[in-house]
Symmetry: C2
């Protein structure tokens, strides 16, 4: 069953004539004639009585028309569906993030621009996110870490200094900036091995020849924060992730360039997928200060 023929038949039946059908389908009238005729000949069935310049459905034609109408309507439905997805009026973007900090800005901007697209956020560590990218359970992920995997594409998003934060009773509490050497032997509360912030910090102090005293390694940002608030030691954190607390003060590091870079990641082969590209484009805009728009 040729679909072009069915489509022509339907238009003729619906519009009540071959010429009218040809206008609706944006083709020439001879095309309609030949399509309908081919359909009739293929099944050896009369679909229309040609009564002069008027056409009239036969019994078989009438029955076919009812079916054809449902097909055409479903096709319109399919087209709407695809347009909705292609036009961001529908769809679902799964976003992964190592913490809500970097992602929130992007998420709110994205949902504002594309209100029709549902968003869901999965929080987990970098390795989990990499896995989820690879098995399609997240579409994009905002990570500090850059995966060493050619299948994953990463775009740098923002660079945030790593700061030290201390309890208000600590000797650093009144300072704005300290030097790395001053931290020699300081008791420190750290994140688990593999934390990007920890890695950046440890690399810096190693290069500076400074040794610190890790008193605790905790697998959660909030737990570290709490431990520092209780005065167990000093902590390090990406400044954007720091949550203010009456008992806590942040201190910049004066003599080293310690930072983490948030990246937006996705599966490399899905880089051009509509929703993913939209997310990256939007992240790109957030990253660079927007130019003034002249109307």
């Amino acid at each position: 069953m040729n679909h072009t023929q069915l489509r022509s038949f339907h238009a003729v039946a619906a519009e009540g004539g071959f010429t009218a059908a040809s206008r609706v389908l944006n083709v020439g009238q001879p095309t309609i004639t030949s399509q309908v005729k081919a359909l009739e000949r293929h099944f050896d069935v009369e679909l229309f009585h040609r009564r002069g310049r008027r056409v009239e459905l036969t019994e078989a034609g009438g029955k076919l028309f009812r079916i054809a109408q449902r097909i055409v309507s479903l096709e319109a439905e399919a087209e709407d569906l695809l347009n909705a997805y292609g036009g961001f009026q529908a769809g679902h973007l799964h976003v992964g993030a190592v913490g809500p900090y970097h992602a929130t800005e992007m998420l709110s901007a994205f949902s504002k621009r594309y209100p029709g697209v549902r968003l869901s956020v999965t929080v987990g560590n970098s390795m989990e996110m990499a896995e989820r990218i690879l098995d399609y359970s997240v579409d994009v992920a905002v990570l500090a870490h850059v995966e060493d995997d050619p299948r994953i594409y990463a775009m740098p998003y923002s660079r945030h200094p790593v700061v030290v934060f201390v309890n208000k009773s600590h000797r650093f509490a009144k300072r704005r900036r300290i030097r790395l050497a001053e931290m020699e032997g300081e008791p420190m509360v750290l994140r688990e091995v593999g934390s990007t912030t920890r890695l950046a910090f440890e690399t810096a102090i190693r290069e500076a020849g400074v040794t610190i005293e890790p008193v605790m390694a905790i697998g959660s940002r909030e737990a570290v924060w709490l431990a520092v608030a209780r005065g167990i030691g000093i902590g390090v954190v990406s400044d954007i992730e720091f949550i203010p607390h009456p008992d806590l003060h942040t201190v910049e590091v004066a003599d080293a360039d310690i930072y983490t870079t948030a990246h937006v990641n996705c599966l490399a082969e899905r880089r051009e997928s509509r929703l993913i590209r939209a997310f990256f484009d939007m992240a790109e805009e957030l990253k660079t200060p927007r130019n003034v728009t002249f109307i």
Copy 2:
């Protein structure tokens, strides 16, 4: 929305793979790939996740698949419908006849051969039948008269002698055959002007130089039959149309070849329409004595 693409998409989703889909659709695998890809690119939507050698529907793909399945199923329904009509498992043939006499043989043969085709019979005179053929309200008509209209096609079916019939008390009642000349001055009960039987008879007696005495002209076969039974006059009838009656006898005409010919008629342009052609073919077979079939 290109239907070939949708069809390819559906097959991939239903079969779970591009290669499997290509086998179902009897096309090459590259065709499927390009069709699905074109569909995805046209709407800028991902329909499948290509996970190595496995494919998996995306959210949009899943929704599209549900619609596509209904479309495909409706197309199968349409195809079945058309096949049924083309294969005589469905359909409706409107048959017209001037009297039930000639038509019954054909009707019973037709309904026996094509049990799936509904038949309806309209009885009326030749002129009415011609009109009904022209306005599509009958498909074929069995008439004695041959319409003088190029739009109507007629096939001779059977030739029946016109016989005289008389009351049992008439002087012809004991005869098997009479000559035309013997009818000179006989009172006759005739059909209305325009009756084919009447026309054939009048032509014959005019050629023979015989004059008759029309005492009554009645617009119905049955009424003529009744009038003759009451002894009002003698009648003429096509032998196949004669209905026996205890008071009536038929008498052949010895010296003239008076006959009517039943024709099967249809709209010339519909001559090749499936059901109509089938009816004509069957009539053709009934007309000619069937050959012995060797198994």
